[in-house]
Each structure stands twice: as structure tokens, then as C-alpha cells.
């Protein structure tokens, strides 16, 4: 599969080779031929059809495009797909198993933490990064960890509650 900015309608410049990248996306090796300038968010969405990762601002401000890159949160609109070659990327699609929602997804449902849902995938990935480091976060720590993710609908209260809910469930599952 080739992922270029085909909408430009010009053939790829002959002096800029298309690169073959293999990225471990949600535990599965995915391969693509990419132009160096292709953004990771676009490869995920258009190339791999993983449209759970949203692009909102496209200027590194909103966090809707947040994915985990080798376990750390990054804004995928601000990294090139070639940079992910050989790396591990987790997207919102990787949260649920075939039969079960991730505690974060359940928490968002229980606490009514989304309205339009646009910010939700990024919120959940940023929250996942937090919970991987700290399974017993305070409300303040959650707000701080999510301060790179903007939500225009909820007012954040229920998002914070949802993360507290998920943390509690994940702690219980550990015991």
C-alpha cells in the first residue's frame, strides 16, 4: 500500500524516494510506503483506515490526535510517519479487546464523559499514559495530565471523573 498526498495530484518527486516503513500498530506490524512528509496522523487515518485518531486543530494545540509512541503520548499531527518506522504505536482502536471495553472506555460511558466525542480518543490515550505511570492519581494529577487535550463540550468535569473511575477499576483488577 502506498500512502502519499495523492490529493495534490502531482507524481512524487523523483529525487525524493518513497520509504517503506513498518510500524507496530496496536500490536500488529503494519507496512506502508510513505512520502517523508506524510504525517503519522494521516497514515493512521487515510493509510491504515484507523479513523479513531482525530485531527482537530492540526497545529499541535488540541491533542485530539494523541497516540502512544513507545508508550509515551504524542500528537500524531506533529510527527512524520517515517519517524515511526520500527516503533510501537497505540491508538484508541487498540484499547478494547474483542469482548471487553477498556476500563477507560467504560469509565467514559459510566460518567458521561463525552458529548460530541471528538476529543475522546485523544483524552483516553493521554489518560492511558497517565495510568500506566500512576494508577492512583489525584484529581489534580488527572487535570494536569490532560491539560494538553482540549474539549469544547463537556467542561472536563466528567472526563476527570471517568479517569478516576477507570483508575479505581484497574486497581481493583490488580488485586
Amino acid at each position: 500500500m502506498s500512502s502519499l498526498y495523492e490529493e495534490i495530484n502531482t507524481p512524487p518527486a523523483s529525487d525524493i524516494p518513497v520509504r517503506r516503513v513498518t510500524i507496530n500498530v496496536n500490536g500488529e506490524a503494519r507496512t506502508a510506503n510513505v512520502e517523508p512528509r506524510l504525517l503519522l496522523a494521516h497514515l493512521l487515518r487515510q493509510g491504515f483506515k484507523l479513523t479513531g485518531t482525530h485531527t482537530g486543530c492540526d497545529t499541535t494545540n488540541c491533542g485530539a490526535c494523541t497516540v502512544l509512541f513507545d508508550g509515551r503520548p504524542i500528537k500524531s499531527c506533529t510527527m512524520f510517519a517515517v519517524q515511526a518506522d520500527g516503533h510501537d504505536v497505540q491508538t484508541v482502536e487498540g484499547l478494547a479487546s474483542a469482548s471487553e471495553l477498556h476500563p477507560l472506555q467504560e469509565g467514559f460511558k459510566q460518567e458521561h464523559a463525552l458529548q460530541c466525542g471528538f476529543c475522546t480518543p485523544g483524552m483516553m490515550m493521554a489518560a492511558k499514559a497517565l495510568l500506566e505511570e500512576n494508577l492512583n492519581p489525584t484529581e489534580d494529577e488527572i487535570r494536569w495530565a490532560l491539560s494538553g487535550n482540549l474539549c469544547r463540550c463537556t467542561g472536563y468535569q466528567n472526563i476527570v471523573k471517568a479517569v478516576l473511575w477507570a483508575a479505581e477499576k484497574m486497581r481493583a483488577e490488580l488485586n
Partner: protein, 289 residues
């Protein structure tokens, strides 16, 4: 949005990276955390022919205090590494105070300290911190390494004194003469925003006497403001109400704020003076060894 076309290389060594920059003759750009460069490429403010990604060069992510007390920060140390470093929190209060205030947590997971200094954004927190700490940048080019003092490194807004074929490989903060004190305060409209005004203060103290001091400002001028000359009010003195007021006044006088959507010039200058006072008062209250 997407950038214009570029060639991409991710060399495994600094020497290889320098060769690529050299061959680029000014049309090649270093890519570190990408948190300033990628948005600029997407907005087409920058359109290099060649991107030299330094993220795959091993051994550049160190935070190291040498035996002489100097601090060395490698080119791939991300903002969050400094924020989470126990050694930094114990030994370098100005950096420790600034780290959580740079951008937002996701940007901090990727953006680098050295990249930020290179970017020389007048609102950038690290260039100001480095100036207050009397730091320097070690750069490497085809002819080897050289060290550039911070005061000569930032030339203006988004302009540094690197040659096109040089890479900044580490930031160096000299050993404090006594105990390192200081702080960083930033006024932002919302969490994660660039500074309306920020103040970096570095103090070297022996008991309650100031041996050396440094001040720098972000967000209140066309470039990072070097306010180190205000240190004269404090060197050899104790932190008293009078010396603190004098230093704060001198620093505020060096600000070059402009009225904009973040606030009026008078307001920003007032904030600078208040922040200098707050940091100095906090340090005078500390029982120093």
C-alpha cells in the same frame, strides 16, 4: 495541512548528521522534538530540502552533573525528562521550576530542551532559563566542537548563532559558586500557553549572601531578554526588602513589553517586577546551609 516535500534522513551518528547538514548548504534542517519545526513546516513558514532527524542518534539523552558541579543536558533530553528528574529537582531549582510550565504534557513528552533553546522563540522558557543560569551551548560542526555562551547564542527572534552545518549537542550550566537557588514564574492565559510574561532567576548563595545572580525574561520583548546586569544589586548582598526591591526594579526596567492580546505593556512590566520579588522573597525565606 502538510509540509512541502523534503528529503529525510535519520543518521545514527553526529558526524553523519553534520555531513548531511554540510551537503545541504543551508537548505537542511535538524529535526529534534519537532514541536516547533513540524508546525512551521506544515504552515510552510519553513521549507527545507532536507530534514536531518537526530532522534535516532544514541547517547544524546543524558542529564549529568559532573564532579565539578556543572550540569550537562544532551540534545535529546525531552522537557518531561527534566520535569521528572529527581536530581534536577534537588540541585537545579530554576530548571525544576520552569520544566512543568513549558507547553503541555504531550508536547513535553517530545520537545527537547536544546531544540527549544535553538528555536530562540522570544516567548520560549528555556532560552530565558539558560541566560539566567549563564549557560552555554556546545555545538559540533565539520571542524569539531565549539562552545557558545548563551548571551552570544540567541541573536534575535528565532535566530541563533549556529552555522548551517553545526548541531547543538549539549547545554552546559556552570557549577554554582555556592548553593544553587532561584526559581521560575510564568503568567499564562491558560495552562500550556506561551508566556504573557515569565521570569527566570538564578542565585548562587552562601548562607544568606548572594554570590552571583542571573535574570532573564520571556514574552516581554522582541527576543529573550537578558537582564543579568540587574545582578549588580544583589552580588555580595543579603536578600533584604531593600535589595530585593532594587533588583526587581532593575529587571523590570530591562523588559521591553508590548501591548497585545495578552495584556498591556504596563501590566506586563508590573508582572515582571512582582515575579522577581516573589522569587527572591521565596529564596530569602529559605534556611540556607
Amino acid at each position: 495541512m502538510y509540509p512541502s516535500r523534503f528529503k529525510y534522513e535519520s543518521p545514527k551518528t553526529i558526524v553523519e548528521a553534520i555531513k548531511l547538514l554540510d551537503a545541504g548548504k543551508g537548505d537542511a534542517k535538524v529535526l529534534a522534538g519537532g514541536q516547533s519545526l513540524v508546525p512551521m513546516l506544515k504552515l510552510r513558514f519553513a521549507f527545507p530540502d532536507q530534514i536531518v532527524d537526530i532522534n535516532n542518534i544514541p547517547g544524546l539523552d543524558y542529564i549529568r552533573f559532573d564532579a565539578d558541579g556543572s550540569l550537562h543536558i544532551g540534545a535529546l533530553v525531552r522537557h518531561e525528562h527534566l520535569e521528572k528528574s529527581v536530581e534536577i529537582s534537588m540541585r537545579q531549582p530554576t530548571i525544576a521550576a520552569a520544566a512543568p510550565l513549558v507547553a503541555d504534557p504531550i508536547v513535553r513528552a517530545r520537545g527537547t530542551f536544546v531544540g527549544s533553546v535553538c528555536h530562540a522563540d522570544p516567548q520560549g522558557d528555556w532560552a530565558a532559563t539558560m541566560i539566567a543560569l549563564h549557560g552555554s551551548i556546545v555545538v559540533q560542526g565539520p571542524k569539531g566542537k565549539r562552545t557558545i555562551a548563551m548571551k552570544d547564542f540567541v541573536l534575535g527572534p528565532y535566530a541563533n548563532s549556529l552555522n548551517y552545518n553545526e548541531i547543538a549537542i549539549e547545554a552546559v550550566i556552570p557549577a554554582p559558586k555556592g548553593v544553587a537557588r532561584g526559581g521560575y514564574l510564568k503568567l499564562e492565559r491558560r495552562v500550556g500557553d506561551f508566556a504573557t510574561a515569565s521570569v527566570a532567576v538564578a542565585l548562587d548563595m552562601s548562607g544568606d549572601t548572594v554570590l552571583n545572580a542571573g535574570f532573564a525574561l520571556a514574552g516581554v520583548g522582541g527576543k529573550t531578554i537578558d537582564a543579568n546586569e540587574a545582578a549588580s544589586a544583589l552580588i555580595g548582598q543579603k536578600l533584604t526588602e531593600a535589595t530585593i526591591a532594587k533588583a526587581a526594579q532593575l529587571v523590570a526596567a530591562l523588559a521591553e513589553p508590548r501591548t497585545d492580546h495578552r495584556g498591556s505593556a504596563e501590566y506586563k512590566r508590573h508582572i515582571v517586577e512582582t515575579f522577581v520579588k516573589r522569587i527572591l522573597v521565596a529564596n530569602s525565606a529559605q534556611k540556607v546551609a
